[in-house]
């Protein structure tokens, strides 16, 4: 049964130009509750496309995606309802520049979960304290550094109490000295048992925090396993080749 799987993908395809370009070419993957899955691979391998398919920001051209047992690629599925339970963090943060940090965090819970303003703000302030930005509630995104913006983006997603968090290269747009503070928040989240799917180039994070590493290339999953299996004893030549370049 799929009870302990929160996400399962079945032969997911993403083709452009009528099949000429295959960004995803039959991806079968699954994520268990509480698991941290890190997806690595060269650029153009389809790992971001794969992640964005999980909450249907990219609509697959074929295959199925089961979220909590429901096929969300089905035309009748209410994708907005499912997305409420799938938090997403983007490479370029995508905070709402016309709103304060507090408003960024309370907008969705108030409009979509019908939380009262006081409840939503109390939750937002608690989360801000936890990531060390309690004093920035009234600031606007433009007044924050990249690392601060990304930490806000993470807690903004957490305000919806998601079942799973999707990270799309969360540290790739950051200055090197700010990568650590964002990774620290992600590690804390992982330790608390949050289910996470992370697309990243941070091999250190993958090695330390991942329960399972997926290596993708050319729109396919080439190899998957524990960090030890992937980093210490990769079976596929393609994986070995990639790791030789990045490590």
């Amino acid at each position: 049964m799929s009870d302990n799987f929160i996400i399962q993908t079945k032969d997911v395809q993403k083709h452009y130009n009528g099949g000429e370009i295959k960004a995803l070419d039959g991806v079968n993957a699954s994520v268990r509750r509480g698991e941290v899955v890190v997806v690595i691979g060269p650029s153009g391998s389809g790992k971001s496309t794969f992640l964005r398919c999980l909450n249907l920001l990219e609509v697959p051209t074929g295959g199925q995606i089961l979220f909590e047992g429901t096929d969300i690629t089905d035309k009748n599925a209410n994708i907005n309802l499912h997305r409420q339970k799938m938090g997403m963090v983007f490479q370029h943060f995508n905070l709402f520049p016309h709103m304060t940090i507090l408003k960024n965090m309370t907008l969705a819970p108030m409009k979509l979960l019908n939380k009262s303003q006081s409840d939503a703000e109390a939750q937002a302030r608690t989360l801000l304290e936890r990531v060390g930005l309690g004093d920035r509630a009234g600031a606007y995104p433009s007044q924050l550094s990249g690392g601060q913006k990304q930490r806000i983006a993470i807690v903004r997603a957490l305000c919806m109490d998601p079942e799973v968090m999707l990270f799309d290269e969360p540290t790739s747009a950051l200055d090197p000295e700010m990568v650590g503070e964002v990774l620290e928040v992600m590690k804390e989240l992982a330790r608390e048992g949050m289910t996470m799917v992370v697309v990243t180039h941070e091999m250190g994070f993958a090695r330390e925090m991942a329960d399972r590493v997926i290596f993708m290339a050319d729109g396919k999953i080439v190899e998957e396993g524990t960090p030890e299996e992937i980093f210490s004893a990769p079976k596929q030549p393609r994986t070995r080749d990639f790791l030789a370049k990045v490590l």
Binding site: R83, M86, F96, H98, S142
Partner: protein, 260 residues
């Protein structure tokens, strides 16, 4: 028989003007017949009021129309490849209507549209201000729609994705996240559209509406001398435009210094 301006001028003119140099007497008489005789200044005031009312109403109609049309156009352009069934058909229909509207309105002269509205479509109505406001509003809406469409498209695609990833639908994301930013981005352009509209209403005289231009035109005809009346009309427009341009400049500085 009422006295003419030339007959009453010697009776009302102060002595120091009448007995002064000839050019002063001529100037005084020109001012008198253009603005004072027969309370003619009241016509400029009425014209000013009508011009401002017309512009304001037209802008409100224009912005309302512009938002709707731009939303239909943007929604269709971005979503139609992924849509199915009756929703796609309805949006496609409205998109086609919007395209025809934009083409016709931007492809024909404002004066012709105004005359068709007044003499044909609303031939039974004598409410010149409302018919003209509607006509200018419909015209302005086409230009406002393209301004707002540009504003919406200038917002980073990541904003829509962020909204959708939180669980907002397309419409809610537009409403809470995209449109507020788009409006802020195009506000100075919209304000300039208001200034352009103000000057465009000068053709309202074609349907006999007393605006600033029409007032100058009629008074010029009444006193067989167009110089001062038309100069006055031009001056009123110039002062209005300079005033509103000043306000737009202030607005732009405010926006630039605020967050983002």
């Amino acid at each position: 028989m009422r006295p003419s301006a030339s007959q009453s001028w010697p009776l009302v003119a102060p002595d120091w003007i009448q007995n002064g140099p000839e050019w002063l007497n001529d100037f005084g008489y020109d001012v008198y017949k253009s603005f004072i005789f027969d309370d003619r200044y009241q016509m400029y005031i009425k014209g000013l009021g009508n011009t401002l009312l017309l512009t304001l109403l037209a802008l409100l109609i224009g912005v309302a129309l512009g938002v709707i049309v731009s939303l239909v156009r943007v929604s269709w352009d971005k979503n139609h490849t992924e849509m199915h069934g009756p929703g796609r058909f309805a949006l496609g229909f409205f998109n086609a209507v919007a395209k025809v509207y934009l083409t016709v309105i931007r492809g024909t002269p404002m004066v012709v549209q105004l005359m068709i509205m007044y003499f044909v479509i609303f031939a039974s109505s004598r409410n010149k201000v409302m018919v003209a406001a509607l006509s200018f509003g419909i015209n302005s809406g086409a230009y406002v729609a393209e301004i707002i469409r540009g504003g919406i498209m200038s917002i980073d695609a990541g904003q829509m994705e962020a909204g959708r990833s939180l669980g907002f639908g397309y419409v809610s994301t537009m409403r809470y996240i995209i449109l507020p930013q788009a409006f802020k981005a195009v506000l100075p352009t919209l304000a300039n559209e208001f200034i352009v509209l103000l000057k465009e209403t000068a053709v309202a005289g074609y349907v006999g509406l007393t605006d600033i231009t029409y007032a100058g035109n009629i008074i010029g005809g009444n006193c067989y001398d167009y110089l001062f009346p038309l100069l006055m009309s031009a001056l009123i427009y110039l002062v209005l435009v300079m005033f509103f341009t000043f306000l737009v400049g202030k607005l732009e500085r405010r926006l630039r210094s605020s967050e983002r």
